[in-house]
């Protein structure tokens, strides 16, 4: 999603109402995926995704296209996620509890289930929050390191090195999880 004439928000500012609907349909699923992979439940992920668009809508007059629109939206999403976690910690007296009772299998159970996607999800789930978010923005969301650096408020060089070490860490987690899945006899695929 490049800046300039194709920037949907610029088009929306110019009066193209359909551009906002297009923005929601293009970025909504990505944002929801971001929140889900950060650990939000489905309802919370949708709620936060809507909040991102509400914030964008409210600030539409102040928006200036100076970078990638997806980075702009992900920055809002990142801040909303931090606020959400902080509010939840405050309400639960410091415990980072899940949003609600989660009926889906946890990371360990998913790994045992053997599906490759489940193993990846489980491995990501076992990473520290900061590492997970870095991989999410830099690898999964494919943002340039400069944008990741601004969102996470760390130097670009640090982003580079952390991506490298985070991938190594993820690979190590996968190496631990995959034998468990193999023992269950349902493992498939390989990493390298």
């Amino acid at each position: 999603m490049q800046p300039g004439p194709d920037d949907l928000l610029v088009r929306f500012q110019a009066g193209d109402a359909a551009a906002f609907d297009q923005l929601v349909s293009e970025m909504g699923p990505r944002l929801k995926g971001y929140f889900l992979r950060q650990g939000a439940q489905n309802a919370t992920a949708e709620d936060l995704t809507q909040l991102v668009f509400v914030r964008v809508f409210q600030a539409r007059q102040r928006y200036k296209s100076s970078g990638r629109l997806d980075a702009y939206l992900l920055r809002i999403a990142h801040n909303l996620w931090i606020d959400s976690r902080r509010r939840k910690r405050f309400l639960t007296g410091g415990d980072d509890l899940p949003d609600a009772v989660d009926s889906s299998p946890g990371p360990a159970e998913e790994a045992v289930a053997g599906d490759r996607a489940s193993v990846l999800r489980a491995a990501l789930g076992r990473l520290p929050v900061e590492t997970r978010e870095l991989l999410e923005l830099a690898v999964l969301q494919r943002l340039p390191y400069q944008e990741v650096s601004e969102i996470l408020d760390i130097p670009v060089g640090t982003v580079k090195s952390r991506v490298y070490y985070s991938l190594r860490k993820l690979r190590d987690k996968l190496a631990v999880l995959e034998p468990e899945a193999d023992q269950d006899g349902t493992s498939s695929g390989s990493l390298s």
């Binding site: 609907d21 929601v24 909504g28 699923p29 990505r30 929801k32 995926g33 889900l36 992979r37 992920a45 949708e46 995704t49 809507q50 909040l51 668009f53 509400v54 809508f57 409210q58 490759r116 996607a117 990846l120 991989l135 830099a138 690898v139 999964l140 494919r142 943002l143 340039p144 390191y145 400069q146 944008e147 670009v156 580079k160 090195s161 991506v163 490298y164 991938l167 190594r168 993820l170 690979r171 996968l174 990493l191 390298s192």
Partner: protein, 244 residues
Amino acid sequence: MEPRPEAFPESLPTEAGAEVEDLRTLGAELQQWANEVPLSAGFSESLRGRMEERPWELRIALRERPLLRVAAALLVISTIAAPVSALVLLLPGLERSDPMIMMELPVQVPDVVLEEARPEIPAIPPSVPGFDSAFDADWQASVAQSNRTAVMQAQWLQARSDADPAVAAPAPAHLEWTHASLAELVLEFERRALLGITTPLPGSLVELIESILADTPAADCPAALRAWHWILHGDGPPPVPQVF
């Protein structure tokens, strides 16, 4: 020309060799796996409803809620009041009158009553339930004797204002006074007066004083012994004019 923005996977460290390829593959797999999650059916409808909600604004809230207006006004007044009043006080035009502290000296001199003798100060025992026996007649006699000692010592100190306190020995001259001389008795009186000792006299000293007083005519008796006589017996009011 703007520099090309760096992004995964181009910038992985090249010195890592084969491992980089390994990590690139893992990253690519992650990107492939991270499919976009479909939104629920009512997402757009719900989003439209939320966007139509008017965002909270202070100006609008102040217009619509009188209590908030009052609270805001109080906040503003309390914030501004202190610095403004301090500024007003600092203005040079305002002359401040320092409060004047007045006091009136008493012009009436209290009447001095000249009496023939000092009044006797009675010893009033305290009322302590369960300890009545501790404040019996002996106690009262002991207190009265201490008071008389203080009166006599005051007279002596008044007459001998040039007395050197250093001559007062820190400990009693004798523990046993049976064979003490007259000069030693006088010295003991002075020592006690200088140190302000008003406790009752030891038994041997009392016996010696009584025997000397019995054998010596009053005119030849030293002032210190006459004072002790009055201290021990308290015959009448304190001797005025002074003994010393």
